[in-house]
């Protein structure tokens, strides 16, 4: 309520309900006053004259003291009701860390997750704020975003708070908060599991939601990989704990367009403290998609990172061929399970490179090489001399003298009889490329893998693909393409929130529910079905999974704050109580003076 240009509010308005009762009681007492005080007088003989002279005295007429006592009690009730002035509403921001680590189940009694605790504590804080406060709620993951969409009232803020869910994402809390500090607010509340370096300041309040218990153990799957050539599934498991753990690794075949496959038996494993274990399992090569999951008998406080998904896309692998020739001229159209698309060599640029990368495809550079090594797997066929990536020597004819027979590229091949009429022996400045096929005149084929990027370079024309007519080179071509496409993690899974193939218009999850906002990527791990392919989505993050490694938060201090303290809220209460006390003292002194005057 506004009064004298000030806005007044009550902290505990329920006390006001007592005021009508007090007024009624006061009136009753004053009406009864005297009636209950019966006094014997010598004679009513003369007093009766008063009553007959002034019959109007029958009316109720409250004395001055009544109004004094009414004023006194009104002040007391207002003080108890917590009357305060609010000059302007405070702007208060709540930042809730909803990264994956906040799904950790607390060691506390209620078995709530850290996010649930954050929501509960933030609700308590919001309820304790002055009624006029304006509140904005932020979540940190996958990116710092205002879920209240601006400053809202406390009740709206509480509703918004409930909408926050765990995001399969890391937080960038420090950078986000340091950025937020420059915006307009009076108070900032942060709820996270970070270890804060400095104490909270007057208007920045950090609430840590993780205990310092070092037994916050967690086991997680940090990677999953399928080797097409060996039908081996490799699952990388981390034990972020100071204790050894017994775990069980289970594989479940998924996918809708395949015959029902029997899931393999779970595998029991022992993992040492702080160990990263890579477990290889033979899987049924007929699988389309699968889920690997781990379970542990001992403490595993973060269950959301205990599974991983993988899918061999039913769609034929996309291969971009950067060439001046037609696909058909190169014979590539005869290759099954591959979808070749030509990019004219003259048109190839960084945009195309980005496109290939986004589509998780592989590329064949036919008699050319780009200026820089692209970030996708590629086969470089007979790159020209003077190319910046791979140095070649003069063309010679040569015979194969040796090869790495353990390499997948040379699987099923006997290259001893292979002769090259025109071979440009290779040399590469890239250290992780090694010679796979050697000839009498130099290296004919080099290949290598670095940070999951695979490269194959031939010093001879591998194409056109002639199939049965040139068995060795055909098998070699197939092996190379297989090796390049199978190693790509993008073929097996994508990360949450990563951009999808633009050709995908519709995606449904395992319960056939359509996923919206595809342009933002997929938020939850799982297997998703597109029109003619299945996509596995995973989220791996040691930063979120390793609960024993405390993250430290170092925040900047807000330089200037237009701070409205809570002192304004309390001022009126103390002032009212002081006034009540003054009235009591004044009344006592007045009574004393009257008594003395009468006695005098």
């Amino acid at each position: 309520m506004n009064f004298f240009r000030e806005q007044f509010s009550l902290g505990s308005p329920a006390f006001l309900l007592s005021l009508p009762c007090i007024i009624g009681f006061l009136i009753y007492v004053y009406l009864k006053k005297g009636q209950s005080a019966q006094k014997v007088v010598a004679s009513l003989f003369l007093l009766k004259i008063l009553k007959t002279k002034n019959p109007a005295k029958q009316k109720i007429n409250l004395p001055r003291r009544f109004y004094f006592e009414l004023f006194f009690f009104t002040l007391l009730v207002l003080a108890l009701s917590g009357l305060y002035i609010t000059r302007a509403s405070e702007k208060i921001i709540f930042v809730i860390d909803n990264s994956l680590s906040m799904s950790t189940i607390s060691n506390q009694v209620e078995r709530l997750s850290l996010l649930q605790q954050a929501q509960t504590q933030a609700s308590v804080a919001i309820n304790s704020l002055p009624a006029q406060s304006q509140i904005e709620i932020y979540q940190t993951s996958p990116s710092l975003s205002s879920i209240s969409q601006g400053f809202v009232s406390a009740s709206n803020a509480l509703d918004t708070l409930k909408e926050i869910k765990i995001a399969y994402a890391e937080d960038k809390l420090e950078a986000q908060i340091n950025k937020l500090i420059n915006s307009e607010f009076n108070q900032l509340y942060i709820y996270s599991d970070y270890q804060k370096e400095k104490e909270s300041s007057e208007n920045m309040h950090y609430v840590r939601l993780a205990s310092d218990d070092l037994s916050q153990s967690n086991i997680s799957i940090s990677d999953i990989y399928f080797d097409n050539s060996s039908n081996q599934l490799q699952v990388t498991i981390n034990n972020f704990s100071s204790n050894a753990n017994q775990i069980q690794l289970s594989i479940e075949y998924l996918g809708t367009n395949q015959e029902k496959l029997s899931n393999p038996m779970p595998v029991s494993l022992e993992i040492a403290p702080q160990e990263q274990l890579k477990k290889n399992l033979l899987v049924d090569p007929r699988f389309q998609s699968l889920k690997a999951s781990i379970s542990s008998l001992s403490s595993n406080l973060l269950p959301l990172d205990d599974q991983a998904f993988l899918s061999k896309s039913a769609h034929s692998k996309k291969v971009f061929v950067i060439t001046q020739n037609q696909i058909s001229d190169l014979g590539l159209n005869r290759l099954p399970n591959f979808n070749f698309e030509q990019i004219l060599a003259s048109n190839y640029n960084d945009d195309y490179a980005k496109q290939i990368e986004q589509k998780h495809a592989i590329a064949i550079f036919d008699n050319l090489a780009p200026k820089t090594l692209p970030k996708f797997n590629a086969l470089y066929i007979n790159p020209p001399q003077q190319n910046p990536l791979f140095s070649t020597q003069a063309i010679v004819s040569a015979q194969v003298s040796g090869w790495q027979d353990a390499h997948p590229i040379t699987s099923y091949l006997n290259l001893s009889s292979l002769n090259f009429n025109q071979l440009a022996p290779l040399k590469s400045e890239i250290s992780w490329l090694s010679s796979i096929i050697e000839t009498t005149k130099g290296v004919a084929l080099i290949a290598g893998e670095n940070a999951k990027l695979r490269v194959v370079v031939t010093g001879f024309d591998l194409l056109p693909y002639l199939g049965k007519e040139s068995k060795t080179l055909s098998i070699l071509t197939l092996n190379i393409l297989k090796w390049l496409s199978s190693a790509s993690l993008e073929n097996a899974y994508i990360s949450v929130y990563s951009s999808l193939d633009p050709s995908i218009n519709k995606l449904v999850d395992s319960s056939a529910k359509e996923i919206s906002f595809l342009k933002n990527g997929i938020a939850l791990p799982g297997i998703y079905k597109a029109e003619n392919q299945e996509i596995a989505v995973n989220f791996f993050s040691e930063r979120e999974s390793n609960l024993t490694k405390k993250k430290t938060l170092n925040l900047n201090q807000k330089s200037t704050i237009s701070n409205i303290s809570n002192k304004a809220k309390n001022n009126l209460q103390n002032m009212l109580l002081a006034l009540v006390l003054l009235l009591i003292c004044g009344d006592l002194l007045w009574s004393l003076w009257r008594t003395e005057r009468r006695q005098g």
């Binding site: 004053y30 006053k33 005297g34 009636q35 209950s36 005080a37 019966q38 006094k39 014997v40 007088v41 010598a42 004679s43 009513l44 003989f45 003369l46 007093l47 009766k48 004259i49 008063l50 009553k51 002279k53 002034n54 005295k57 007429n61 004395p63 009468r598």
Partner: protein, 293 residues
């Protein structure tokens, strides 16, 4: 045993006084007052012309020498005075107890009785509703009377007319009657009471004793339920300053009416408030109205 207010000094002052009557009454024995009897008393009364048969011993020869006429002296026979003290013992005289209204009335009665005893008069006391005492005389009688009055627990109710009649019936020799009361009653009732007393040919005096509470009732209360001490009648009251002013006017009007009644009946009247000085009242006020000399 006399009340504490009867100091030796006060008693000495009282001994100098005597009760005065406007009339001359016949007494039982010789006392200090002029009697209606003419005779051989020692007090010269007046002169009359000599008539044949008068005793020449009483001829005032000095007057003959001055006037050349014969006058004889007349002497009155001095006898004691019967004093009747009527005390109002109703509940109004003891409400509130702290105002000591009854005690003042009692002390006035004892003062008058002492004066009477010292002057060889006889006193009977009628404590209305309680007792009608026999005639007392002699200096020592004051102690007996004082003991009776001090032991008396007053504050009851009685039929005033009946009690006055009883008191009057005890009077053998009319004399002085002094009625001590607060007179807080209807004027008609006062008149009828006086008529009964006057019918006995008594020389009446009235002394009104009021208390501070009669003058300013219930000073600490604005709203109060007042109860009459005698009738137990209850009446809710609101006593503002204006109401108290009107009460004062009513009290003054009543007292003026009382004075008029007493004046018209030739009854000497004095008024005292119970917190005033008894000695001053007795020595000054009562002599002023002619009750004492």
């Amino acid at each position: 045993m006399l009340p504490e207010t009867f100091t030796p000094k006060f008693l000495r002052n009282l001994e100098l006084l005597r009760i005065h009557t406007r009339k001359v009454f016949m007494g039982m024995r010789q006392g200090g007052h002029a009697s209606i009897k003419r005779g051989q008393g020692i007090e010269f009364s007046d002169y009359r012309q000599y008539q044949l048969g008068d005793n020449p011993r009483y001829i005032d020869w000095g007057l003959y020498g001055r006037s050349d006429k014969l006058y004889v002296k007349r002497f009155s026979e001095e006898q004691d005075l019967s004093v009747l003290i009527i005390l109002d013992t109703s509940a109004s005289m003891t409400t509130p107890i702290s105002d000591l209204k009854w005690e003042m009335a009692r002390d006035i009665a004892l003062s008058l009785a002492y004066i009477a005893f010292m002057d060889r008069d006889s006193v009977s006391v009628s404590a209305l509703g309680y007792f009608n005492s026999p005639r007392y005389s002699g200096a020592r009688a004051i102690h007996h009377l004082s003991q009776e009055l001090m032991q008396l627990k007053v504050g009851g109710t009685y039929d005033l007319t009946k009690e006055i009649q009883l008191a009057c019936a005890k009077v053998k020799f009319p004399g002085k009657a002094i009625y001590i009361s607060d007179f807080l009653m209807p004027l008609d009732q006062i008149r009828s009471t006086l008529n009964i007393l006057r019918a006995k040919n008594l020389d009446l005096s009235a002394i009104q004793v009021l208390s501070p509470s009669d003058i300013n009732p219930l000073p600490d209360f604005e709203y109060v339920s007042a109860i009459d001490s005698e009738t137990a009648e209850s009446m809710p009251l609101r006593l503002t300053a204006k109401d108290r002013e009107e009460y004062q006017i009513a009290l003054n009007d009543h007292n003026h009416a009382l004075e008029d009644i007493f004046a018209s009946s030739q009854i000497s009247f004095a008024k005292i408030v119970s917190n005033e000085d008894l000695s001053d009242f007795t020595l000054n006020n009562l002599t002023k109205i002619g009750l004492l000399r």
